[in-house]
């Protein structure tokens, strides 16, 4: 998937360059909602990229939406861009009209269950809800008995216990007890908690691929600016080799995230169709994040350990996101079970995607 000639990416890049700069990211971490950034994104239709046009969304192609998320990952966008896209995706599958304003989704763990009664009243608590406190609405995958239901809930009707992830992004606990959904629809076949989490993993993989590109660029630039022993540190072979490895990790992550995005867009993201590619992506991208962020920090010395320097905007997100929607080993174990179930002679065909 190439991002170069993508109009949506161009538009987003311009907005992020102006409005998602380090000062805005720090302010957001201090609790200040990035009003200008969000309003501009919303006016441009980007926040509802994955929403069906007939339902009030922007009707953007799935792959373009992923390209947008990679760009957002590059810029450490301190707003629920990805989460609103996910919510819009979910609402579209349930054929529910989408509201404007920031959204998020629940639950974010495959084994979590939120109950809903026949008249639309919810019970249950969901932990680690990205940007929970900032969302106007939450798209919830709830259960009426066994039946999966998509419910649109006003955040104001829920109780929030604030928490943050490693990047200082809101990762709140949301209690739905007694909240009444403003709209509900039964979930289509294949849309369950596991499918939602898998889609979240595909999304985080793409954001992380963007983050890795960012720290590669920052590290290369820093190594040419910072001098020691009379020359730029980038002239030392040990530093060069670290950065070459970082470039490799970023490229591998990009390839893995692209493969997942394509599988999702081909197969709609529901059911098990894209599961292998998503599992492979979250596994490989998570590995790349670990190694890549370590190299980036080593290259930046003490400066990269300061709050002042912006390296941590991307690295802390990489560390947070690698654990969200299932970490590397969670997905690797799932992938390994899929491989084993098909048997040794099918291992290679599995790699080639047959």
């Amino acid at each position: 998937m190439s991002n170069e000639d993508n109009l949506i990416v161009d538009a987003a890049t311009r907005i992020f360059q102006d409005m998602s700069e380090p000062g805005v990211i720090n302010a957001a971490e201090a609790g200040e909602w990035p009003t200008d950034l969000w309003n501009t994104l919303e006016e441009s239709g980007l926040t509802l990229a994955w929403g069906d046009e007939a339902l009030g969304g922007a009707g953007v192609d799935m792959l373009d939406g992923f390209a947008l998320l990679k760009t957002a990952g590059r810029f450490s966008v301190p707003a629920p861009m990805a989460d609103t896209l996910l919510a819009a995706w979910m609402l579209s599958h349930a054929k529910l009209q989408m509201p404007t304003g920031p959204m998020t989704i629940a639950p974010t763990q495959a084994e979590a269950r939120i109950a809903i009664s026949a008249d639309g009243v919810l019970t249950g608590t969901a932990r680690h809800i990205p940007f929970g406190r900032n969302a106007d609405h939450i798209a919830v995958l709830a259960r009426d008995g066994d039946k999966a239901v998509v419910a649109l809930v006003k955040r104001a009707d829920c109780a929030i216990r604030e928490n943050i992830n490693l990047a200082g992004e809101p990762a709140d606990e949301v209690s739905f007890d007694g909240a009444k959904a403003i709209a509900t629809a039964s979930a289509p076949d294949g849309l369950d908690e596991a499918a939602l989490v898998a889609m979240g993993a595909a999304v985080r993989s793409m954001q992380m691929a963007g983050g890795l590109e960012k720290i590669l660029d920052q590290s290369v630039q820093y190594s040419l600016e910072r001098s020691q022993f009379g020359r730029p540190i980038g002239k030392f072979q040990a530093v060069q080799h670290g950065l070459a490895e970082l470039a490799g990790e970023a490229a591998a992550a990009g390839a893995a995230a692209d493969a997942a995005a394509e599988a999702v867009s081909r197969k709609g993201g529901l059911g098990t169709g894209a599961l292998a590619e998503i599992a492979a992506a979250k596994t490989r991208v998570g590995e790349a994040a670990t190694r890549g962020a370590a190299i980036a920090h080593q290259t930046h010395g003490a400066m990269g350990f300061t709050y002042e320097h912006s390296l941590h905007h991307a690295t802390r997100r990489l560390w947070a996101w690698r654990d969200e929607f299932g970490n590397e080993s969670h997905w690797a174990i799932m992938l390994g079970r899929m491989v084993a179930a098909r048997g040794a002679d099918e291992l290679w065909p599995f790699v080639t995607g047959d």
């Binding site: 998937m1 190439s2 170069e4 890049t13 360059q17 890795l212 590109e213 590669l216 660029d217 290369v220 190594s223 040419l224 002239k235 072979q237 530093v239 060069q240 080799h241 950065l243 070459a244 490895e245 470039a247 490799g248 990790e249 970023a250 490229a251 591998a252 992550a253 990009g254 390839a255 893995a256 692209d258 493969a259 394509e262 590619e277 492979a280 992506a281 596994t283 490989r284 590995e287 590397e328 080993s329 997905w331 690797a332 174990i333 799932m334 992938l335 390994g336 079970r337 491989v339 084993a340 179930a341 048997g343 040794a344 002679d345 291992l347 290679w348 790699v351 080639t352 995607g353 047959d354």
Partner: protein, 387 residues
């Protein structure tokens, strides 16, 4: 916005490619079943089977992309990719023809005389003519441009003197493409000048080939000594003095393929057979991590092939994939060992124990042959603007 990130084009796997893939899979399954070959670890490096190479030639799977007039089949780089990756994944013994098909043939096609193309390429495509690589010398490994072997102009040709080393398969190969000095000096400044490539018939007088047994016990690489070996003028490959440029593009071909991460695929397959359908968490973790790494490597590698198909020379991208790919292979066998203990036995009838033994003793070469990972990272670092 400019970024240092490497991008690999997305390659579409067409129904035609799928059909070819299936054809190769069926062929390999039948061959294996009938005892046509026994899967080996690192079969492209060490599995020599002259008969099997000939069979592939008959199938039309060698020289695939070359013009028909030279015995080729005018198929795409992607089709060639599909065939090679299937052979690798199956652990087929394809070492004999590998170099000729991958790099020597394409070098002749690009730089050779009409006579060379007509006489040599069809034999390579038939799986009957094999090539050795003459780059390294006792004093010149990573620092290839420091090489000392000379070709001195004499009446009607050149006299070659010097020693090439680590020449894989030279003992059964028919030709070597050797990079030698025809002028210039070994000075730091202009060492890249005065190098030339020669297409040398290894049966001529003045050449002595001495086997060097490797630590895995394979009779694989050699020392090739040249003492006043006379080659006629038309053995000069390409332009005199253009050798550095030529050998660089030869290395591009040498580094660009999926063999750089599929040498041990067969060991992973045999490990999966041992593990069975219901793995415990550690076994599943190993399988999942390995497959995830393989999938992303393959995607990048397909991208390299796509760049080749577009007529590009993806030297840096190939170096990047080789670096990650060979490091993946270096850890793979150890990862497998941790969850599927075995005492690797070289003569075992158990395919897992045997291929593991082959793999463990051969894999240390993967981060060295074709350019060390340190050299590859230097290439990537240069692209990043650091050198």
């Amino acid at each position: 916005m400019s970024s240092n990130a490497f991008r690999f084009p997305d390659v579409e796997f067409t129904p035609e490619l799928k059909a070819l893939q299936q054809e190769v899979r069926d062929f390999l399954a039948a061959e294996k079943a009938s005892g046509g070959f026994v899967p080996v670890a690192d079969g492209w490096g060490f599995g020599v089977d002259l008969e099997f190479s000939r069979k592939l030639g008959q199938k039309g799977w060698l020289g695939m992309t070359w013009p028909k007039q030279y015995g080729g089949h005018e198929r795409s780089s992607m089709e060639r990719y599909v065939v090679t990756e299937e052979l690798l994944a199956a652990g087929a013994p394809v070492s004999a023809h590998w170099v000729a098909d991958r790099q020597s043939g394409p070098m002749i096609l690009k730089n050779g005389t009409e006579e060379q193309k007509k006489t040599i390429l069809p034999r390579i495509a038939a799986g009957e003519c094999h090539f050795a690589i003459g780059m390294s010398e006792p004093g010149s490994g990573s620092d290839l441009a420091s090489l000392r072997t000379t070709a001195t102009k004499v009446d009607g040709g050149y006299k070659i003197n010097g020693t090439k080393i680590w020449s894989s398969g030279a003992h059964f190969c028919h030709y070597m493409i050797a990079t030698v000095r025809t002028g210039g000096t070994r000075d730091e400044k202009n060492r890249h000048e005065g190098l030339s490539q020669f297409l040398i018939d290894l049966s001529i007088p003045g050449i002595e080939i001495r086997s060097i047994k490797n630590m895995a016990g394979d009779e694989h690489f050699n020392e090739t000594h040249f003492t006043d070996a006379f080659v006629p003028d038309d053995c000069l490959l390409g332009e005199e003095g253009d050798g550095w440029h030529q050998v660089t593009s030869e290395l591009g071909l040498e580094r660009s393929g999926p063999e750089r991460f599929l040498s041990s695929a067969i060991v992973l397959t045999e490990a999966a057979r041992k593990i069975g359908n219901e793995p415990d968490d550690r076994e599943a973790l190993m399988l999942g991590q390995s497959v995830a790494r393989l999938k992303s490597l393959r995607r990048m590698s397909l991208g390299v092939s796509g760049l080749l198909q577009e007529g590009g020379s993806p030297t840096v991208e190939a170096a990047l994939v080789k670096d990650i790919g060979t490091r993946y292979e270096s850890t793979l066998l150890n990862d497998i060992r941790q969850v599927q203990p075995t005492e690797p036995l070289g003569q075992s009838t158990d395919d897992f124990a045997r291929t593991m033994a082959e793999g463990l003793l051969r894999v240390p070469s993967s981060t060295i042959r074709g350019g060390t990972n340190e050299v590859l990272r230097g290439i990537v670092a240069r692209q990043l603007g650091l050198r």
